[in-house]
């Protein structure tokens, strides 16, 4: 009797678990399905009420039409340059900074770390005007720099990585030092491999947020040649009147694909890193 009860209970528990997962999955996947569905509809189908789910004839031409609406190759190139540069520069700044905060003792360490955290809490909407004026002063408004320079340091990344580095036992570092490993080698051979999950997470977050950035590039750029994909896609929208949602969504699908690729790559890395790292 008792065993029957508990197996029934276990079954119920896992069923409820699965049901919850399905609900959450549905909530997250719904906007994507909606986007893909709309991107393949005709103009008339996008206006239908109740909404169309499966387009009668998939309109693959919507993608071509979206891409023809502006210099999308330039936008894509800009997005790629901006995002990759930001990530590379952030890693170059973040790893030494996090290492120093985690493993060194120096004057004003806590105050400096506090400043890093402070930077992490200030939203871009507050700083964009002074930053724009500064960039205009330096005559950089016609370049991609205003979209890169303000993001060279990633406060959230430094914070997360520092926590990770702090968990790495002092003994491992001592042992490496005894073997005459220099600081650079130490970081490269010990700190970075052990913090792989954190690095992959930070890279993913950083990529997604800068790839999707809309407000900052809008206020920092005045010409089409230095704008990223997000602005190109927002240009598909009508200011007044009826927007061509099927075209806008086709543009959005194109915008999202790189994120999915990076996500697939990064999520694998995260899992791998968890499996191989000796600690935990």
């Amino acid at each position: 009797m008792n065993t029957l009860d508990s197996s029934y209970f276990n079954w119920l528990k896992s069923a409820v678990g699965i049901a919850f997962k399905i609900v959450i999955l549905a909530v997250f996947i719904f906007p994507f399905l909606w986007m893909i569905s709309t991107s393949l509809q005709t103009f008339r189908e996008t206006l239908a009420f109740p909404p169309t789910w499966i387009p009668a004839v998939p309109q693959w031409g919507n993608f071509a039409e979206a891409m023809r609406a502006g210099p999308f190759l330039t936008y894509a190139k800009n997005s790629l340059i901006i995002t990759v540069s930001i990530i590379v520069i952030q890693f170059a700044v973040m790893i030494p900074a996090a290492y120093a905060f985690a493993k060194y003792r120096f004057a004003l360490k806590n105050v400096l770390f506090g400043l890093v955290l402070l930077a992490f809490m200030i939203p871009g909407q507050i700083t964009f005007i002074p930053v724009y004026l500064m960039m205009a002063d330096m005559d950089l408004i016609h370049t991609l720099w205003p979209q890169i320079i303000p993001f060279m340091s990633n406060a959230f990344g430094i914070f997360l990585l520092r926590q990770y580095f702090m968990q790495i036992p002092e003994e491992i570092i001592e042992a490496a030092r005894l073997d005459n490993a220099g600081e650079w080698k130490l970081v490269r051979k010990i700190m970075i491999p052990m913090a792989k999950p954190a690095l992959a997470t930070i890279a993913l977050f950083s990529f997604v947020s800068h790839w999707n950035e809309y407000f900052w590039p809008l206020v920092m750029t005045n010409s089409a040649s230095i704008r990223p994909l997000t602005l190109g896609i927002s240009m598909l929208r009508e200011t007044e009147g009826i927007s061509n949602w099927h075209i806008i969504m086709a543009g959005n699908v194109v915008l999202v694909i790189p994120i999915l690729i990076v996500y697939l790559f990064c999520s694998k890395q995260i899992v791998k890193a968890f499996v191989y790292s000796g600690i935990k």
Partner: protein
């Protein structure tokens, strides 16, 4: 070893790309000896004349995306093809509000364009900061009279007797009607509030507790209540711009009372704020609502997607016909260094048959000069699409009573009042009273 190589490679690649793109970003007009030298190419956008053989570059900012953006690009291209000495660079700067934000920071940092599109309600604010050029002398110099423009669209053009902007892509709210549905019920297109109420109620289809069809709808916007306020003899701001002109005289109570009454019987569907314009458009196209207050900007899209008899009509009158106007004007920045060329672009866009006229014919915005209205092309279009003519004819009743430097700020308060009344069914009198006090506080500043 391998990792280091990859890192180095990536860095080189990124830096190479950066350098390459820095050179390219100066844009197509830097064809001179600037190649491969990012510093000189970067400044090509601003200091232009010398580099490109005596061509003056005019920067023009606009807010048109989608199809209308393409029509605007075509207009700019036509201008450039017909002018050897001027190159207009048109750039989309986001929606109307985003363009305003960008203009504010650009003026402060001396990176503003020469010519800009400006949503009409913001003209006063910029003119008050003295950043817009007075166009009257230019107009005179080109032998154009202010009377050549459509009178109903000139409301936002003047500030302290200066002509600070000219109409460009202008629209107005209008009544869109599913005539097939009205005919089924034996109803005629309403011309008064009373008829509108009867028709809207007659169109309601209710099954159980669910409305299958509504009579009337309108987007969540200040435009429509303001139209109804002026139809009832009120003004949004009073003549002196010290307070609002529709609370103490009971007009506000009448307008919102009317809307709430219709909402209560399903005669009015008031959409959720987010994306309200799209929601009402699709409901109208699908026949889920019979009539709609909506911008003239929707006529083109609706005509091409409805499968019923679709007509437009004047917004019904209460005491009188009245309607506000919307859309954007064009203005010249006082800080421009190329004013002659900038004016030539504005003049050409406003008056040349190859300029604004083509854009208006394509986009469906309202014709803004008498010359346009009388052109053979416009007459031909109106014969084919009488719905567009109705929009223009309604301009004889155009009146804008929300013109004030403080409007953008008061607007937010008015939105809150609309939300309180339409969504939360708060007491109308109390809500409007609070709104009036807030508006007076803002106007007194």
């Amino acid at each position: 070893m391998k990792n280091k190589g990859v890192l180095l490679l990536t860095l080189t690649l990124v830096l190479g790309l950066l350098a390459g793109c820095g050179g390219g970003s100066g844009g197509g007009n830097a064809g001179s000896g600037a190649k491969g030298d990012p510093a000189s190419a970067n400044s090509a956008g601003t200091a232009d004349a010398a580099a490109s053989g005596g061509k003056t570059t005019v920067q023009f900012w606009h807010s048109l995306g989608g199809k209308n953006g393409e029509y605007m690009d075509a207009l700019i291209q036509r201008f450039n093809e017909s002018h050897n000495d001027i190159e207009v660079v048109g750039t989309y700067q986001g929606g109307y509000d985003e363009t305003v934000t960008k203009l504010q920071q650009a003026v402060a940092s001396d990176t503003a364009p020469d010519v800009t599109m400006l949503e009409r309600a913001y003209v006063q604010m910029f003119a008050d900061s003295e950043v817009l050029e007075d166009l009257a002398p230019y107009l005179k110099g080109s032998g154009i009279s202010a009377d050549d423009f459509t009178a109903g669209l000139m409301g936002h053009s003047y500030f302290n007797d200066q002509l600070v902007s000219l109409p460009l892509n202008r629209s107005t709210p209008i009544l869109h009607v599913n005539k097939t549905l009205l005919d089924e019920q034996g109803l005629k297109v309403p011309t008064t509030w009373e008829e509108l109420k009867n028709a809207a109620n007659a169109l309601v289809v209710k099954e159980g507790n669910e409305y299958k069809r509504y009579g009337l709808t309108m987007p969540y916007d200040t435009w429509y209540p303001i139209a109804m306020i002026s139809q009832s003899g009120g003004r949004f701001f009073n003549e002196e711009s010290t307070s609002v002109g529709f609370v103490d005289n009971g007009v506000g109570q009448e307008v919102f009372g009317y809307l709430k009454e219709l909402q209560g019987t399903g005669a009015l569907y008031y959409p959720p704020a987010q994306d309200s314009g799209n929601i009402v458009n699709s409901m109208f196209v699908e026949g889920k609502v019979g009539m709609m207050f909506q911008s003239t900007g929707s006529i083109g899209g609706l005509s091409s997607s409805v499968d019923f008899d679709y007509v437009t009509a004047f917004l019904p009158k209460n005491d009188q016909f009245a309607n506000p106007t919307g859309g954007a004007n064009v203005a010249m920045l006082a800080g421009s260094k190329n004013k002659e060329a900038a004016w030539e672009f504005i003049r050409w866009m406003e008056t040349d048959p190859q300029g604004g006229l083509q854009f208006i014919l394509q986009s469906g915005y309202l014709p803004f000069t008498k010359q346009m209205v009388e052109s053979a092309e416009m007459k031909e279009l109106w014969a084919k699409e009488p719905n567009r003519k109705v929009a223009y004819d309604q301009l004889q009743y155009a009146v804008d009573t929300n013109m004030d430097v403080a409007w953008p700020e008061v607007m937010h308060e008015f939105f809150s009042a609309i939300e309180a009344i339409m969504y939360d069914s708060k007491d109308i009198a109390a809500t409007l009273d609070t709104f009036k006090k807030e508006a007076e506080r803002i106007l007194a500043e």
